[in-house]
Symmetry: C2
Subunit: 414 residues, 2 copies
């Protein structure tokens, strides 16, 4: 048995206990974890400083260093997050449907934990706490495999959580950290069939692609977002400009930010200068198709690969389209099925866009930046699924459960 | 572009049309298909005879020949099935949840088609009609890859469906058949990312294992069932014997049949002879653990691999256990998460078993043979999922859909 298989075995045993733990006990464990994050602040921050010093010596970029850094505020955020999750309703044990069959069998479909969840993620150590807390609330054991840069921080956070779980009478192995942070351990996790019920990668496009292509265990694909705003021919131009500014610049590095705008030819001449002016103070680089460039001479010419690029940066591709059909075709071809928006005052165009765009979230007259568990009212979020099976869009606690059928009989045979 | 990629491209185009087709049009198409199955009976049966003659020349076993054979009754079953599916409620366009957010955004989660479904299956040509009809009702395009033995039958059935779809104004390419029935085409389908939204294998354990291990597209694992009946210490022995007889012998070749019984030591001496007597007329071979063999001297000694074998035959493994804990451990270790039953008169044991067994369907005092879409009241069934993501247990029309969030705003930014 490899080390990971041994961890898997222990996780399965822990999952059997967690699956039968009541809400009260799970919530108490989460509050213990919150308390421990606060009480063990010094230990966790000291471990984080080790990671930071190592990263600085290795010449890590400032933006990655920022992601790696735990501050007292971020730690307090993890603690408060655990308390908020504790306060949410238990996603386990809900009766979703059911009733008596003609033969007298009483059949109920109820929610149950998934079992053992694997998480592969990159440098942000607060994911360690946030993700584990959500998995635990839904009655799952979790095996975490963070990035090597954050290893000391992750180890300290997991240790603190394990001790808190023990105090609450739940298994130590409910949360485990993979100590080997080499690429080998990630690959081994992707092949841990029989132990992992699902693997959730969180991180950049490269990590997610690698997991989707190589995993033999079921995967939930998260987070790649090539999102569009389509400005219809009779859009409110100021509203369009405000939404585009927000969707592009409020946080360009996240998956629900937009990468391309599509503008109806009849409104392009009036709308594009207003939009460009709104983006100007944010120093957004515009990459425009030929027609758009005639209106925006300051823009760089767009190349074909611009339509398929998730910049995650202050860059915006701009394309003038003949009509809504061309916009829908463009989105069907280049969109990643994350979040798409139309800006229009026309009822039929709005409904057409809502019906025909195939994406996790489709918007009329609002910023794509709202695609988020908290904003959608799902509570804390484990990620945003861009696949269609099991979960699509922001995933809350409910998406960390599966179902089982309970069948109560009195000797029925078929 | 490979042939399969071209088929995928055409399927995606068809799926975009199907996704926006109304219930009335889809149901009319299904009724047209039913009518065509009846009117083109001679054509389909002639094609089937080609397959049968080829199979006979190749020395196919009688039981496989039976699966391959279409009779007028089986064809009528396909037609009636299409009509029944047409009569079911549309699974697409249901509002599952939603409401106004504090910022005025109206968010709704609705059901939408998955998109393009791939099916890989073996020799039964009626699966071609039954599966396609379910996919269409849920607004999906489907690419079918049946076994080479049934190729002529499948081609005739698909052609008849395509013509019926055209008559109803739906795209010809809504249903396509892969003409290459070599192993290569199956592998290519498993890697058809970007075209297939899900791949559903239906067939023997070997096919399903191969798909689960090799597929890069999302898969729904179906149909492997290593199911148990546990006879608790104060079970009604006659009820236990009747349920075991039914679960083992009513149709031993299907996944919801049982393979092993676990009997509490305190009842084993009284129960096992009654059970054995009930099974005797069916010529069930018993493979018993040491303790069980002392009670059933006629049984063959069980070996360790018996506990993990899905016989799909008139063979039953028998194990005496110390208590319910040992039964639960055995099921956790060897069960495939399909269907598990306890026979008991004890309330606490029944609830304990329902809570702690991790399977798609858990029974008290009833036969595992009820794990079936029709028996559960889900209507027609596309398969029985033994995985935990997306769908678990019998899958009806609803499991062939995904969701999307519709967000209606008035200029909201974040």
């Amino acid at each position: 048995m490899t080390i990971l298989e041994q961890m898997g075995e222990r996780a399965r045993a822990a999952a059997r206990v967690l699956a039968c733990a009541g809400s009260r006990q799970k919530d108490e464990a989460l509050r213990q974890i919150a308390r421990a994050f606060r009480e063990e602040k010094a230990v966790i921050l000291a471990a984080n400083r080790e990671d930071i010093e190592r990263a600085k010596a290795d010449g890590m970029t400032p933006s990655l260093l920022d992601r790696l850094t735990l501050t007292p505020q971020r730690l307090e955020g993890m603690a408060a997050g655990a308390e908020e999750v504790a306060a949410q309703p238990d996603p386990v044990g809900r009766v979703l449907e059911g009733g008596k069959r003609p033969n007298g069998l009483l059949i109920e479909k109820i929610t149950v934990p998934l079992g053992v969840i694997g998480m592969i993620y990159e440098s942000r150590p607060n994911v360690t706490g946030d993700a584990a807390v959500l998995c635990l609330k839904a009655g799952n054991a979790v095996i975490l495999r963070g990035g090597k840069e954050a290893f000391s921080s992750n180890r300290a956070i997991v240790r603190v959580m394990q001790e808190a779980l023990s105090r609450a009478g739940l298994p130590w192995d409910s949360v485990q950290l993979v100590e080997d942070t080499s690429r080998r351990s990630a690959v081994e996790m992707m092949e841990l069939t029989g132990y992992l019920d699902v693997l959730i990668p969180r991180g950049g496009a490269g990590l997610i692609r690698s997991v989707v292509e190589n995993a033999r265990v079921p995967v939930i694909e998260t987070g790649v977002g090539n999102c569009h705003v389509y400005v219809d021919k009779d859009a409110d131009i100021d509203l369009a400009a405000a939404v585009i500014e927000n969707a592009k610049t409020s946080r360009p590095s996240v998956c629900n930010a937009i990468e391309t705008i599509l503008v109806h030819q009849e409104i392009a001449e009036r709308a594009l200068p207003v939009i460009a002016e709104k983006l100007e103070p944010h120093h957004v680089e515009l990459r425009a198709c030929e027609r758009a460039q005639k209106i925006l001479p300051q823009a760089v010419p767009a190349r074909n690969e611009d339509w398929e690029t998730e910049y995650l940066d202050l860059i915006l591709a701009v394309r003038v389209v003949d009509d809504i059909e061309e916009a829908l075709s463009h989105i069907a071809r280049y969109g990643s099925g994350h979040s798409e928006a139309i800006i229009t005052r026309d009822y039929a165009a709005a409904e057409d866009f809502l019906n025909r765009v195939d994406a996790a979230a489709v918007y009329v007259n609002a910023s794509t930046r709202f695609t988020d568990g908290g904003e959608f009212g799902l509570g804390a979020e484990i990620g945003i699924s861009t696949q269609k099976l099991h979960a699509r869009g922001p995933m809350g606690l409910q998406q960390l459960t599966t179902t089982k059928f309970l069948v109560r009989g009195s000797g029925q045979i078929r």
